[in-house]
Every structure is written in structure tokens, then in C-alpha cells.
Amino acid sequence: MYDMFQALLQAPSYHLFFEALLIIWIFKLLFFSKAYAPESVLTEKEKEELIAEWQPEPLAPEIPDDHPVLMAMENNIITGKPGKYVTINGKSCVNMATLNFLGMAGNPSVEAEAIKTLKKYGVGSCGPRGFYGTMDVHLELEDKIAKFMNCEEAILYAFGFATIASAIPAYSKRGDVIFADEGVCFAIQKGLVASRSKIKWFKHNDMEDLERLLIEQAKEDKKNPKKAKVTRRFLVVEGLYINYGDLCPLPKLVELKWKYKVRLFLEESLSFGILGSNGKGVTEHYNISPDDIDLIAASLENAIGSTGGFCCGKKYIVDHQRLSGLGYCFSASLPPMLATAAIESLRLIDEKPGMLVELRENCEKIHSKLSDINGTVIVGEPISPVKHIRLAEPSTDRDFDVQTLQKIADLSRDNKVAVTLARYLEEEEHKLPLPSIRISVNNQLSDEEIDTVFTTLSEAFQKIITH
């Protein structure tokens, strides 16, 4: 220390001076350099100018009044009960459009139940489940669904779309991983977005692709075991895909679930009440215990012919939604008259599984018939009650194809067969399916009616495509 001090004294003065300058310069660079940056504070006047200058985009884009979809809604006036037949512009058409597969929407005994409930409870429940919106009929319906599906518990939602869209974010949070099929319906897609989890898409019904992703994830987990311990992994699939009309390979999915320890969520909106010998859905169709599935969600708006949806599964899983399912906690409960309508529909399905056999026969008949229409491809399983008719040789222009199909739909409607195009929010779908006419099958259709549907549709196709 002393030596250093001595050395300092002995150093030449110019040397000391130079070093001092250097030190000052370094200080200046470190601490004062910013002070020389020009200040970019705006004056009040400039601010006001900025505010005056700003022009927002219009809230909604200008849409021509004669937009075809709008026109269709305006001009096709539907009256009366939409059952096996639907009255459009005063013309009675065979209804191949609404998802009323078992005719529950117009079933007299279901209606009678609804009216009975109306006379006891009125229409609305006037509150969310937590605040006196729970009625004995809701508890009964939950109980009935749980028993029907052989699950421990079921939870009832007031709206089909909100069911799966609320269920997914109740479990999967930021940082979790969800493996999802590319073909899932829009409600699931919104649930995935709302969860803010990491989404890994696998090709539609491609188990190899899924396994590849699962292996990838397993490798990643091995690298970072600490993170893997808190990262929940989910697998979300649809039982019967509404956009494709095909089934998910459930046995393989369950096998992968146990192999790679992911939780399996199954959306059965279309298959519930339809597939399996008793209408219990894909699990019954493949003879798989519902215990192997972590959560089954379905809408009551299709086969059941009511409104709302439900989730069912193990008690410890389902109960969680009663406090964290957004659509459950913060929404008014299902009107009691729609709840009892659903109870009655379930009872009917349970009592008369013959309906399901009829439906399946009709589905297969229509499938084989429609396969004969020239210039089209029919997508979906023969047993699926939803079928998509696509153009066999689609052009590169989607809009043009949509227009063609719309013309076909219009023509067949004029010839008394009501069909509809499958509509999508084209910009928002994760993977947009090809345009198609969506046929939904009713169990009450007779052979003659099926023939009429076939001839009308094939004529319409011939006329428009060859034109």
C-alpha cells in the first residue's frame, strides 16, 4: 500500500494529469451521456394536435345490403315448427339442415314437460346458479346426465357453446400445454385461446403426428424436469367432428393418454345421444369406460333438442368448474322449462334405443345414396348423422365454390329439400375446412323421403355443376 503511494508520488506530474482526465472522461461517459440526448417531451399544443389528427377506423366495415348471406336470412322466412319438415316462404321442405337428429325439438311429450314446468316455474331463472338460480330441476338434470353417462358428476351450463369454451380455461392455464386436433370445432378453439396455454396442433385424426408431438414434449420435459413438474398436459379432441363428420380414434387416444400422461378432454356435442347402442356417445361406441376420459363435454342443443350443455366426469374434476367455470358462475342458469325438456329427451332416448337404430340406418342409407352423386365427394363416416358434400374438383377460388354450392342449396330448397352450407368465420378458423353442403339426418325420414332428398340433390348438382 505504502509502495503504491510512493510510486504515485514519484510519477511524473503530466502522467497524473493525464490519468485524472481519463477518469473524468470515463465518469462522464458513464453517468452524463444521457443528459445530452434531446428531450422528446411533447408540448400541450402538439398533444392536442395529435389528438385532433387521429382518425379511427370505422367500427364495422361497410357491407352491401345485398350480401348473399344477409339476403338469405332476410328472404327465407321460416315459420312453424322446424321438425322433419320445415316451412320456408310458405313451402314445406324436407328438413336436412337443422341438427334435430331425433326429432326431440318437436316431440309432443317433451313439449308437454316444458309446458308443465312453465306453469310451475315461469320462464327465466333470474339469476346465476350461485344466487338462487339453482332449481331442483337443474339438480335433477345434472343427476340424470351423470347416471346416463355412468359418471360421478355432471355440471350444467346454460349454453352449448359456452360449455367447452369455459371448461378448458378452468383447468388449463398459462404455461400449460394443450395438444389439440386441427379439426376441432370453433367452441373448442375459443376455449383454447381463452386458456392462454401453449397449443400444439396435430393433423386431423393423425395419431402418428400426435405421438410425434408427445414424444417431443416428453424430451423437452426430460431436459427441464423442474418445469415439467408444474406443466399440465391436456389432449383435446371431438368425439364426432362436426366439420368433417368423422370419429376420433378413441382407443388409440386413450392408449396415448396413459402412455404420455396427458389428460384427455372429449367434446361430444354431436355424438352425445347418437352413438353407441344407448346413445352414450363415442365411449360407448368404442366400448371404452368413461373413467378413462378426464372430462366429457357436450351440448344439449342437438340430439337432445333443448338449450345448454354439460360436462361430466370424476367428481374432483367436475366440481372445480363450479367455482372456476366462467360460463357457469357468471351466467344465468338454464331456464327450468328447457331443463325439464332435456330430462324428458334423455328419458325417451334411454327408454327407446330403437330410435338410435333407426337413425343409424337412415344415416347409412343416405350415405350410400349420396355417394352416387356425380361430381361430389361425401365426407364423414357412414354412421355419422352429419355429412358434408363437397365438390369433387374444387376450384382454386373458395368464394366461387361457395357460390356454386349456395346455388345448389337454393335450387334444392326451391324443390322442397332444405339444406344449408356449413358456415365458418373464414378468417378466424384455425384450419378452414373446404366448402361443403352439410346434411343432417333425422331418424324419422322414410325411405321415400330419402329418395326425394337424393333425387332433388343430385338433380340440383347436375344442373348447377354442368351449367
Binding site: 364495422a60 345490403d65 337443422t98 341438427l99 315461469g122 400422461k261 366440481d319 328447457l338
Partner: protein
């Protein structure tokens, strides 16, 4: 103009009006900038000196504003001479609050919030034309809202009670680990290899805190949720882990359902019309709007709603929650900004989140904060890219169901026009419930519905049905008919529900050739004012606007809320409770939802019980004079 001249201005002003007298009352809390804004700006064009002065004071301004609750009302006081009776009450309040402020000043948020929402006079920084002031006077003098803070010791006790709950919970958790104790939770089975589904804190709160008051929520009923209802009796054999229904039920007065206009009925014209519609149209549609699920009756409803609201067109959705969550994403997208009230409903928050737009929250019903955020947003542009915002959407609710407050709509409209933003107004609780014609907050303030870009509301509450609507310009609704998630991916409303809305709406509009609708509206208004006035006179801390039919009464301690609710149920009254996390930790509350179907006897019974309980639980903590309910008194006599 130099500084010297400027400082002399108040003297000049004093000779012009009585400003000195007013400022002395406010004890120097009036800042130079306010004086400048109030008077000088009109006299002198903005000069650089003043601008410099402003920039110095503006930072201090925000501090001062948060401290002084009523300093801003200077503008009004000087223009509103002679000082109104309201004004006098204000000054007394001001003094009383100031003493309180020194205690609670550390709770900055609370302090600020009071300053924003408690003053019946909106603070205005802009130069106002005489006409504006005239216009504002109309609504501001009627507008009374209160959010009183508890005495400090109540807050402390509340925190201590939560602390005890948490400590006991941890002790039980510890005992459970040792294998002692009877904790009967349905805990998650440990499946080897799987990551646990739930976080510890979530379950902890549910098991050890929420469970203790679980019986106050999810009570099942088996009757019409009208003025009275049958609550199903249930017992617990295991300290609220599970419940067992005994099969009997108790008749109670219903203060829990959102049945504002009393349309929850199983007889009468609505029920008859609904029965007919089920017979004619079935009980479900099973198809979406664009896929042949749009019936004549839906079209009729859409047109009726548009007519009811006074807008060009409307679209209806089968679920109120989904109306927000499924339509907001169609209105804003990435690159847009949403300014959302901090107390907005979960459905709005979800809708905003799904839209992908940037979300900023502003303080509850605080127009100054909203203006600040608007200005900031336009000036600072988008973060990172610094592009201009595509759109700015202000999202507010009509009546906030947890606070009972009413949105300051005239101010929102003024700001919206000034900054060219769009307004999304959620009238879930206000449609039907307030306004002389039952047409919601727009009607309440006498505004033009066309000034609001997106009018949203639900059919669940006032109309006794379920579902929601969006009303607006033809262009907007056409866009939603094409782009709304609900128009494509969900089935349309069941005919029975549609019919209920049509029937009840026609009654409110008086199209059934009876005065039933207007009677209901007036009854609800009378009930609201009578009930709120009586509660305030008893000395309870009642939150919200004097015209809001949701009446939150703050009890602070969670145990008191639970006791209150249980006691009421035992004595024939059903109320709802709200506690953490739905409301701030120390502000648990009882909510009375008033209805047109409540009779004065029912209200009196509840008031009597509340009075008694208030003494037992020492809930009469308010140190404010009750609001003036002038016209309610008149009607009282009439009755």
C-alpha cells in the same frame, strides 16, 4: 402575460364573482391551474407562460386531486350561485371526510376512488360553454353515488379475521398431514406421472375459507323466483363439505333474484303467450342463425328490440354471458385498444381477451382517469410498433351489480365524442330497471341512444327470460349478423324464450293497452328509493347510486355476511352475499335485489330485520348524512 399578472387574477375574479368566498372554504386546495381553467382561459388566449406553468403544476395536480375530494367542484360552485342545498351538504361532508382522509390517505387507491366517484359533481377540467354547464347541471344534480370507507378499526378487524381463517386452515392442513383431524375434502387422487390439476392456493381458499360460508351460496329453490320463493332446505353432516336436501322447503321473501320488473311469473299474459309458442314452434331450433335457424319469430324479436332501444337494428343471442364473449371479438381486433372499467363483468373481460386487442383498465366510473388514458393512448400510440391505434373502444356497464353504481354516461359520451372513441355499453342490469320508460341508463340520463355505438343488454333480469342482445346502427348489426360467433356456431334462442321477451317488452312499452308496464317501472323506482333511504337513515353503509335497484350493504367482516345471510334465511328472507374474490378482501357485502313485485310490507319486514341485525352485528358504521331522496318522499305521502 407574465407570472405577476397571472397571480393577480384571483383578485380580479373576486370582483367578478364570489370565488374568494368559495376558495376560502376549500382552504387553499384550489390550485392555480384550476383557477386558470375556470376563469383565465376564457379571458386570455393561451400564452407560453401559462403553458409552462401548467406543465409544472400538472404533476402536482394529480397528487392534489387524489387528496382533495371536492376541490374540483369549484367550477360548479362558482357558476352555481346561489349555492344549492346540495352544495352545503357537500361542504359539511368535505370537512368530515378530510379528517378521515388523513387516516386513510395511505390507502391510495381507496382515496382516489372516493375522489372519483363520491362527488355528485363530476370534476371538469375543460372549458365549458354555458350551455354545457346547463346541460350537466341537469344530470349531475340528480346523480348521487356513495362509497364510504369503513372506520380504520373495522378494516383492521376484517384483516385479522381473514388472518385467523388462514392460520386455522394451515393448522388443519398440518394436522391432515400428520393424519389427525377429519378433513373430508375430495382431494385429487395422485395418479402417478400426471401433474396435479389444481394449484394449492386455489384449493386452500376453497376448503378452509369459502367452505365455511358455502351454505350462503348455491341455495336451490323449487318455485317461481318471484317476490317470494321456496328455498329447499338442506343440512350438512360434515361441516359444509357436502349438503343433503331434506325434501322440505321454506317460503322466503326473495331479495336475491334479478327480477327487477317482476316478470318472473308462471301465470299471466307472458306465460300464456309462451305456452302458445311452445305448441306452435316447439321447444328448440337446433340450428344457427345462418344455417336455417333464423325463424320469423326471431326476426320479430330483433325488430322489437331495436324499436325498444331506439336504434336502427339489433341482434339477439341465447345467452347473456355469450353476447359479450362472442360478439366483442367481432368488433375489435389486434391493433385496437379497449379501455375497460376495472369492475367490468367477467363476460366482458373474457370477450376483450378473446378479441386479441390491447386492454387497459381505468378506475371504476372515474372519468378523469378515462380521459387521461384516452389522451395517453392517442398520443403514445401502440407500444413497440408505434403505429396509430385502429380503434379505441370504451367498455362500460350501465349498473355495476356488485357496487350498485351507475355509469356516468353523459361524461362517457362527451369523452367519446372528443376523442373519437367507440362506446360499448353493457346494460345487463340496467335495461328495464331504470329510466322513466324502463329503457336503461340511456333513458335515465335522457340521452340519445344513437350516441352509443354498441348497446348491449340481457333478457335475464328485467324480462324474466334468458339471453342477450346487441343494438346499434344497421351497418354494425349487419356486420355482426355475418361475423358474430353466435350467428354461426350456436343455435338460436328457443321459441319459448323469444316469446317471453316479446310479451314482456310489449307490456313495458304499453302495447298491451294497459298501464301494467309503467306501473312496474314506477313501483321499482319507488321501492328502490324507499329502501335505500331507510337503510341510509338507519346508518348502514350502502354502496352505489340512489336509483340503482341493486343495493349492496357493506358489512366488511366475512363472518358477519355469513351470519346475516343465515339469520335472514331462518327468518324468511333470502338475500345474496358477495365476498372475496368477487369484491375486495375487506369489503364483503350483502346484496338486496329489489323488484317491482315487492310490496311495502315486504320491504318493511326486511328493513326491520336488517335494523335489528345491524345493532347486533354493529353494522351501522356510516358517518354520512343520507342522500336526498326528495321525490321519493313525495311519492311516499301519495301512497
Amino acid at each position: 402575460m407574465n407570472i405577476d399578472e397571472f397571480s393577480q387574477k384571483p383578485v380580479y375574479l373576486a370582483s367578478k364573482s364570489d370565488v374568494i368566498q368559495d376558495t376560502s372554504r376549500i382552504r387553499g386546495r384550489m390550485t392555480i391551474r384550476e383557477i386558470y381553467n375556470t376563469h383565465v382561459k376564457e379571458e386570455f388566449p393561451a400564452s407560453q407562460t401559462v403553458q409552462a406553468l401548467e406543465s409544472v403544476t400538472s404533476k402536482r395536480m394529480t397528487d392534489i386531486l387524489s387528496e382533495a375530494p371536492f376541490s374540483g367542484s369549484v367550477t360548479e360552485q362558482t357558476t352555481r350561485i346561489p349555492v344549492l342545498t346540495h352544495g352545503n351538504g357537500l361542504h359539511q361532508e368535505n370537512d368530515r371526510l378530510k379528517t378521515k382522509l388523513s387516516v386513510t390517505n395511505k390507502q391510495r387507491i381507496n382515496g382516489h376512488r372516493r375522489s372519483c366517484s363520491e362527488t355528485p359533481y363530476g370534476r371538469s377540467m375543460q372549458k365549458k360553454s354555458e350551455m354545457d354547464i346547463q346541460h350537466d347541471k341537469k344530470w349531475e344534480s340528480r346523480f348521487y353515488e356513495s362509497f364510504e370507507d369503513p372506520p380504520i378499526w373495522t378494516s383492521i378487524l376484517t384483516y385479522i379475521s381473514f388472518l385467523i381463517l388462514i392460520l386455522v386452515g394451515h393448522m388443519r392442513e398440518f394436522l391432515k398431514k400428520l393424519g389427525i383431524g377429519r378433513v373430508k375434502n375430495i382431494s385429487e387422487p395422485n395418479i402417478p406421472g400426471f401433474v396435479t390439476l389444481y394449484q394449492t392456493w386455489e384449493s386452500f381458499y376453497h376448503w378452509y375459507i369459502f367452505r365455511r360460508g358455502k351454505d350462503t351460496l348455491y341455495r336451490a329453490i323449487n318455485s317461481v323466483p318471484g317476490a317470494e320463493m321456496d328455498v329447499m332446505d338442506r343440512v350438512t353432516d360434515d361441516h359444509y363439505w357436502t349438503f343433503r336436501y331434506t325434501g322440505t322447503s321454506t317460503r322466503v321473501i326473495n331479495f336475491g333474484s334479478y327480477n327487477y320488473l317482476g316478470f318472473s311469473q308462471n301465470t299471466g299474459p307472458c306465460a300464456e303467450a309462451v305456452e302458445k309458442s311452445v305448441n306452435e314452434l316447439g321447444n328448440a331450433i337446433c340450428a344457427s342463425r345462418q344455417e336455417l335457424g333464423y325463424l320469423q319469430i326471431h326476426k320479430e324479436l330483433d325488430d322489437l328490440v331495436a324499436d325498444y332501444l331506439g336504434v336502427e337494428a339489433a341482434i339477439t343471442v341465447p345467452m347473456g354471458f355469450a353476447t359479450n364473449s362472442m360478439n366483442l371479438p367481432a368488433l375489435v381486433e389486434k391493433g385496437c385498444l379497449i379501455l375497460s372499467d376495472e369492475l367490468n363483468h367477467a363476460s366482458l373481460i373474457l370477450g376483450c381477451r378473446l378479441s386479441g386487442a390491447q386492454i387497459k383498465t381505468f378506475k371504476h366510473n372515474c372519468m378523469e382517469d378515462l380521459e387521461e388514458k384516452l389522451k395517453e393512448a392517442i398520443i403514445d400510440k401502440q407500444p413497440r410498433t408505434h403505429r396509430k391505434w385502429k380503434k379505441i373502444l370504451i367498455v362500460v356497464e350501465g349498473i355495476y351489480s356488485m357496487e350498485g353504481s351507475i355509469v356516468k354516461l353523459p361524461d362517457v359520451i362527451r369523452l367519446k365524442k372528443k376523442y373519437k372513441a367507440y362506446v360499448y355499453l353493457d346494460e345487463a342490469h340496467s335495461i328495464g330497471a331504470i329510466g322513466p320508460h324502463g329503457k336503461g341508463v340511456v333513458d335515465y340520463f335522457g340521452m340519445d341512444p344513437k350516441d352509443i355505438d354498441i348497446m348491449m343488454g340481457t333478457f335475464t333480469k328485467s324480462f324474466g327470460a334468458v339471453g342477450g342482445y346487441i343494438g346499434g346502427s344497421k351497418r354494425l348489426i349487419n356486420h355482426l349478423r355475418l361475423r358474430s360467433h353466435s350467428a354461426i356456431y350456436s343455435s338460436t334462442m328457443a321459441p319459448s324464450i323469444v316469446q317471453q321477451v316479446i310479451s314482456s317488452m310489449n307490456i313495458i312499452l304499453g302495447r298491451d293497452n294497459s298501464r301494467d308496464g309503467i306501473k312496474r317501472i314506477n313501483q321499482l323506482k319507488w321501492n328502490t328509493r324507499y329502501f335505500r333511504r331507510r337503510l341510509q337513515e338507519m346508518g348502514f353503509i350502502v354502496y352505489g347510486n340512489k336509483d340503482s335497484p341493486v343495493v349492496p350493504m357493506v358489512t366488511f367482516s366475512p363472518a358477519k355476511v355469513v351470519y346475516f345471510s343465515r339469520y335472514c334465511l331462518e327468518h324468511g328472507i333470502g338475500v345474496t352475499v358477495a365476498a372475496f374474490p368477487a369484491v375486495p378482501l375487506e369489503k364483503s357485502r350483502i346484496r338486496f335485489c329489489l323488484s317491482a313485485s315487492h310490496t311495502k310490507e315486504m320491504l318493511d319486514k326486511v328493513l326491520e330485520m336488517t335494523d335489528k341485525l345491524g345493532d347486533t352485528l354493529s353494522l351501522k358504521l356510516s358517518r354520512k348524512e343520507p342522500a336526498e331522496y326528495g321525490d321519493s318522499e313525495d311519492q311516499d305521502e301519495e301512497k
